[in-house]
Symmetry: C2
Subunit: 548 residues, 2 copies
């Protein structure tokens, strides 16, 4: 019979987790020792924040991720990364050590305690979809299974607190995990499908919006089947970018209201039947509310809700709905010319002496990308200009496009490579974001990662300058290309011209033994058309708030 | 009549705040613009975590500090630093931007939102002593004053959320701030004082423990008066170290149960009347519960509670109690020889070729310290060995000795120098902690700080190795002395021998235009006697938890 600590490890393992990110501390050292002797590999990062972002990225690729830290001084550093996982549906298991139950009598002031012993638990209740403190050996196994099930069911983070005197306690000898079966309400499903199919068949120009949940719930194959059967054109959202190969003939591009390419906008908004699958439409996806999506002509199904026109159905699973669509009699039809992303330019011709610009950088990167690259973009122009990159295969564009927390990309590259060692990350990150978490390249070095890190160095917060400028948007200039000397690993390049870029990218493609950092020095006022459109819309919100 | 944003700025200013730490973001840009045009100086850090630690240190020195960030992606990065401020009684005002009230109708998925619009507020309710969302112009001014009063009254962090469409709204024209007067219950105070004075006069060997609240509530002058009047010997706690000059003839040293110097332990524990003033005794202060403090012979007064032997009084202010003691008839007596800290050795003679050790490093630093240095120690041997340094003046030792969050010291040095530009920080930080927040030296560079940063480089988590070792205690080796090249600022030194140390310290004393980083390369197994005692005690807790 396993101990509680061992059972937790076994269950993580059986759900496919192979790496645990974190930073050790005395309240969790006993559990770290168990981890260290298990099949799970501990990836200790520079800071807990880095572990949180890495675990989130790992969970997105792997289907489940885990981060393990000490009480409060470790756990509370994960509040933001856990919030990100919640907002963007990434199933991360947050495991925190804690003072032993037997140490808590008379409420002593143990180090790391904030207010009460359950303060951290209470904080995480707001940031997770299920949470537990394993303080009772009678229920510990059941609690572990309940919480892990919730992570997988809702694709959202969960919280498990493990008081240190419970790690080596035995759970219930007679415990048998119950496989929880959840199914759609069949009658509701039938009615909804019937209605949807009728709408789709009657429509002159149906359009699919493929949302992020298709990726999270592993429904990309079903999406392909549906498209192949019906031939309906499909758009993605910024968050779900690359949920379908961007070279697929039915793929039109990203839809993002007035922020996206005009032809995509026109095609989507003039559709008389919009089928949103697993898409939760944020203000960014809606182009800061410039989108014109008419509910009267929409079918919207997510893991949480099914809406057709103005009415809702309960208890319909996304998977069942999509499978239902595939099996139903949707007519396959041919459609007039649909928009397509611009194909990657094989004919990019560098002008070696020209100063590098955002536009030319991304044109070059578009030609540079190959089948084993995964693009990881930090919020800012890294993400918005990055949206125009053409992604070849499934799910190779990773960005916190809804929660938009800066500092995600560098630690995420660590998580991505550990989840799938065949992928080489192309990290796109602003200089401001790099200063937040870039030191996790030390962890990348420690575990032999080889991302290509493109720092969009415009000497400050380029997303904010167009909205409201001030010296608070400036940051200290770093010699980013000297980072390899600091960590004793990798290569660094300073890129001022197109010739520099050409040289650095060639070197980076050749050099696979470590990371490459490209310090791409841009004009502080330079930005992509996509970012320009976005910051104009966001800037209006700020100006509007002043006039009230 | 000021706007709500302007009123907040005015009130911060009138409570002595001159700097606001933070990172901008779109929901807070309107308020940043106001700040930028005010007397308050914005100090934007690399990461919000750095801003939080800096604001905490600033608050400890200045009496009030402020950090201002954007919604969730900024605010939630402050959960840990705010918890630290709560645990160690540091009055930090956390100001967060937020979506406008008028943007929240129909609950849209605005970027940065986690679960509900009030998720961040709910998180901070657990981490602060008062919190508010300024969503009503009728009450906004009053709310600002209520919350700031709580920060000053309890010396703990508070939370103010400012929806962006409220920044430029007017508050109530007829609002008059009410000066809140709080006073001790005079009858309770009289009885408690009478009882305390009787105990103290009857005692053969009374001893004072001067706690951190004497610093936080600005009662150090009162402490000096009390000591001068009564001649009672005094000890400090690790958290309150330097609350009294360590060269004062009545000062014995740090009391910390079995962890402290034996002679201090004996003197304190054999006292027949222990007067604990403003001391909240944590597990570290109690030497991991090796302390033998007999409540039967104790008087313990804090801002929260007054206890004499086994009974408690309510509504007695610490300040009133100490002033009462000064004015009451406590006999001044002479005492037998009391312990004293070892004086700083002026006769430290370096052995240039000897490999540097923790013991010799701290002996040397003890002689190095001068009157304008402030020691800032990160948890670990930086703090525990640092405890033996002799601090010359008031409050020049700053360490998170109770909450013990790693990564405090480097950003704290930024806060300290801005709060008091006459102080030069000597930062003691482990290599593990440095990897968490050391990049904030870039912010130090941007705002022209000149700390001397001593990195205790033992290639990993030295506090944990003796408790439970594993590869998770190893970290990537950095070339710390090359950091000046990365930031284009400061000087770096590699220290392997006593000769290297001598050279680097001399250079650091001369060079005041920027920071100096000393990479002090220690044996990974080397640690101070203080840390050895502590990790043995902590290690026993871990072993005990395994046997349960």
């Amino acid at each position: 019979m396993p101990t509680i600590g061992q059972y937790l490890i076994d269950r993580l393992r059986s759900h496919g987790v192979r790496h645990v990110f974190g930073v050790p501390g005395d309240y969790v050292l006993g559990f770290y020792e168990l981890l260290d002797h298990s099949d799970l590999k501990i990836i200790n990062t520079c800071d807990e924040q880095g572990a949180g972002f890495a675990a989130d990225a790992y969970a997105r690729i792997n289907g489940l991720g885990a981060v393990c830290v000490t009480y409060c001084v470790g756990g509370l550093k994960l509040a933001n990364t856990t919030a990100e996982a919640f907002a963007e549906k990434s199933p991360v298991v947050v495991i925190s050590g804690a003072p032993g139950i037997n140490e808590r009598a008379k409420n002593p002031l143990l180090h790391h305690k904030v207010r009460d012993f359950d303060t951290q638990f209470k904080v995480f209740e707001h940031l997770t979809v299920a949470s537990t403190v394993l303080k009772d050996r009678e229920t510990a196994f059941q609690e572990i299974d309940r919480v892990l099930h919730a992570a997988l069911r809702y694709k959202r983070p969960v919280y498990i607190e493990l008081p240190r005197d419970m790690v080596h306690e035995n759970g219930r000898a007679d415990y048998n995990p119950v496989e929880i079966q959840e199914a759609s309400d069949l009658q509701a499903l039938r009615e909804a499908l019937q209605e949807a199919v009728t709408m789709m068949n009657q429509a002159r120009r149906p359009v699919l919006i493929a949302g992020i949940e298709l990726h999270r719930f592993n429904l990309q194959k079903e999406l392909m089947e549906l498209i192949e059967k019906t031939n309906i054109p499909v758009a993605a959202t910024l968050l779900s970018k690359s949920v379908i190969s961007e070279l697929h003939p039915n793929y039109m591009g990203i839809y993002e209201g007035a922020m996206c390419r005009e032809e995509v906008r026109q095609y989507v908004e003039s559709s008389d039947c919009l089928i949103l699958l697993g898409a939760f439409m944020s203000d960014v996806d809606l182009g800061i509310f410039t989108a014109r999506i008419d509910p009267q002509r929409s079918i919207a199904v997510t893991s949480e809700k099914t809406s057709i026109r103005f009415h809702n159905y309960e208890e319909i699973y996304l998977k069942d709905f999509i499978r239902g669509l595939i099996q139903s009699g949707i007519h396959r039809r041919e459609w007039a010319a649909i928009p397509h992303p611009e194909p990657p330019g094989p004919d990019f011709i560098p002008k070696p002496a020209e100063k590098i610009t955002i536009r030319r950088l991304f044109e070059r990167l578009n030609a540079f990308l190959d089948d084993h690259d995964v693009v990881i973009a930090d919020p800012g122009d890294a993400m918005f200009a990055g949206a125009d990159l053409v992604i070849h295969r499934h799910t190779e564009f990773l960005a916190p496009a809804y929660y938009t927390s800066m500092g995600f990309a560098v630690p995420a590259s660590l998580g991505v490579q550990l989840a799938n060692s065949k992928l080489r990350p192309l990290v796109l990150v602003g200089d401001g974001a790099f200063q937040m978490t870039g030191m996790e390249l030390a962890t990348v070095a420690r575990f032999n990662g080889n991302p290509i890190v493109i720092i969009l160095n415009n000497r400050g917060y380029g997303t904010e300058r167009p909205m409201q400028d001030g010296s608070f948007n400036d940051i200290q200039p770093w010699q980013y290309s000297s980072i390899p000397e600091l960590f004793g690993y990798g290569k660094g390049y300073r890129v001022k011209t197109e010739g520099d870029l050409e040289f650095a990218l060639c070197k980076a493609r050749e050099y696979t033994e470590g990371f490459c950092v490209l310090d791409v020095q841009l004009d502080p006022q330079d930005c992509s058309p996509a970012l320009k459109r976005l910051t104009e819309a966001l800037g209006k919100k700020i100006q509007a708030s002043k006039k009230l």
